[in-house]
């Protein structure tokens, strides 16, 4: 569906523009896991206002936009065991790796960071294998 690809490209440019503003104005890396992690574990206490404000915008604005559009599909599984396992894995994994799709993927790859490229290769590989295993072999997602 090419319209989805165009929306993907437009949305992607918005995400990249947000990351570029954060870098050029505030001098910071827009990595979602690092911003959330530093807020919840206290390691980012010195700049908590910036972290909290970014998360507030990230939470509020898509919510309002989805409301204006008459709702937005998430298709999130209703299997709570899967959700809890996935959340724990994402939380532990992003803190071990010090980054997620936004930090390593968008901000890392765009500066040709070897760590960003290697991290992205591993999380995409692991994600692909997980979908194959749990969807096509076990049939639980």
């Amino acid at each position: 569906m090419p319209i989805d690809w165009i929306m993907g490209l437009v949305g992607g440019v918005l995400i990249g523009t947000a990351a570029a503003i954060f870098l050029l104005v505030n001098g910071r890396i827009m990595g979602a896991s690092g911003i959330i992690g530093g807020l919840v574990d206290g390691s980012g206490r010195s700049d908590w206002q910036e972290r909290a404000a970014l998360i507030a915008g990230l939470f509020i604005v898509p919510g309002l936009a989805a409301l204006a559009m008459g709702g937005s599909e998430t298709n999130l599984t209703s299997n709570w065991a899967i959700i809890i396992a996935a959340g724990l894995l994402v939380g532990v994994g992003t803190r071990f790796a010090n980054g997620c799709t936004s930090g390593h993927g968008v901000c890392g790859i765009s500066r040709l960071s070897l760590r960003g490229i290697v991290a992205t290769a591993f999380y995409i590989g692991a994600g692909g294998l997980t979908v194959v295993l749990f969807k096509h072999i076990l049939g639980v997602i």
Binding site: G12, V25, G27, L58, P62, A86, G87, L88, T130
Partner: protein
């Protein structure tokens, strides 16, 4: 002012995630599902996001941020257990639910109770990570 810019950045980030369809877990899982009905959208999102950011990185050379003293220093290029193991675990969780940290927050207001459960578990995982890492470091020294 930095706080206001951060709010603006988060808003733009969230809008981008919503418009691109990344808050829809089946699009993310559809991209990871190379043996199923493969959905290439995520590649367009990534490509679209990397372009402005690559320009921004070039722009940092010889300059200073508008509201800060310095740009973040080039990270140490150390590839190790934490990066590889962490990214693998993260990828597994990403594949299982189709959510990563940014879209999890962006969709929280319309994803229902499952969204809150995911974010709760993610925060628990984030809080558990330092002690897990310390324990693995100790074991590595002992061996």
């Amino acid at each position: 002012m930095r706080t206001f810019v951060s709010f603006l950045v988060g808003s733009l980030f969230g809008l981008g995630l919503l418009i691109s369809g990344m808050t829809n877990t089946s699009k993310v899982q559809g991209w990871l599902d190379i043996f199923g009905d493969w959905d290439p959208t995520l590649a367009f999102v990534m490509g679209g996001a990397i372009i402005p950011m690559a320009i921004a990185w070039r722009f940092t050379i010889g300059r200073k941020p508008v509201l800060a003293d310095a740009f973040p220093p080039a990270p140490e290029q150390k590839l190790g257990r934490n990066l590889v193991l962490g990214s693998t675990l993260f990828g597994m969780g990403w594949g299982l639910a189709g959510l990563c940290p940014g879209p999890a927050i962006a969709s929280l207001s319309f994803a229902g109770p499952g969204g809150w459960l995911f974010v709760g578990a993610m925060i628990a995982g984030m809080l558990a990570a330092p002690s897990l890492r310390a324990r693995m470091d100790q074991r590595a020294v002992a061996v």
